[in-house]
Assembly symmetry: C2
Amino acid sequence: MSHIETAIKMTLDRWYGSVASLDKMLNVLTDEQLQKETAPGKNRGIYLLGHLVAVHDDMLTLLDLGEKQHPQLTEPFIKLADKVATELPAVAELRDFWTKQNALLREKFDQLTTEQWFEKHTAVSAEDFAKEPHRNKLNIIISRTSHLQYHTGQIALLK
Amino acid sequence: MSHIETAIKMTLDRWYGSVASLDKMLNVLTDEQLQKETAPGKNRGIYLLGHLVAVHDDMLTLLDLGEKQHPQLTEPFIKLADKVATELPAVAELRDFWTKQNALLREKFDQLTTEQWFEKHTAVSAEDFAKEPHRNKLNIIISRTSHLQYHTGQIALLK
């Protein structure tokens, strides 16, 4: 395995490890617990779960791997803060989205070659990318793993 | 810049970005706020800060970059849970450790070459490393960045 293949493997392993870690947590948290605030006055578990699904949904377009699956989640879980949207999907529905999304993302990621991971993502122009080659697809995985861990630490407080 | 240099840069940028993000948070949190629990019955800010300094201190030995600077923090902040140790350093002292540690780690990381980032870290045997080349020094940065983000998400709740 070349260094570059090793680097891609490490990055994807950390993503999958982070997904598995939240997955394990979600399996022990009840729907009722997820309806609670992570700390007094802070985001609820249901909001963070919906937020993660919505943000990960964007990865499909950022990585040029297809259309968003849940465009309806952008408004309540990204644009609006918690407790602002008048209606949210049920926790059970979000759990289902989460599980199916992880399988879909894995399937899509598996299709990318080493070279493709270092291609530009769709939110950067070709001109900027020429100057900043780190704004590639692999970097989307790196930044989204950080984001996932950040909110996983908060969801952990519901246990 | 080669792909492999880009991959190392992305990994280190995410580490430094994560450190900067907690740093910014610590600058707005008072010592008093850091003495509070992140959520009812959960770890206090002071414990998480000490925990991060203790865990990052271990990176020096894991990466073969020198001796631990704060061995006295392992017991109260890694081995023991929060509110178990009878005495903890003051928040001001931990803030100072945190700041100096980040400068020291940067200085040490700067010394590592591309090839060295892909060498084994000190907690894996040469035999295991031959089979699992991803257990290298760069992977320590990847895993510690995840860990840092996880606890940063919790410290954020103190604001």
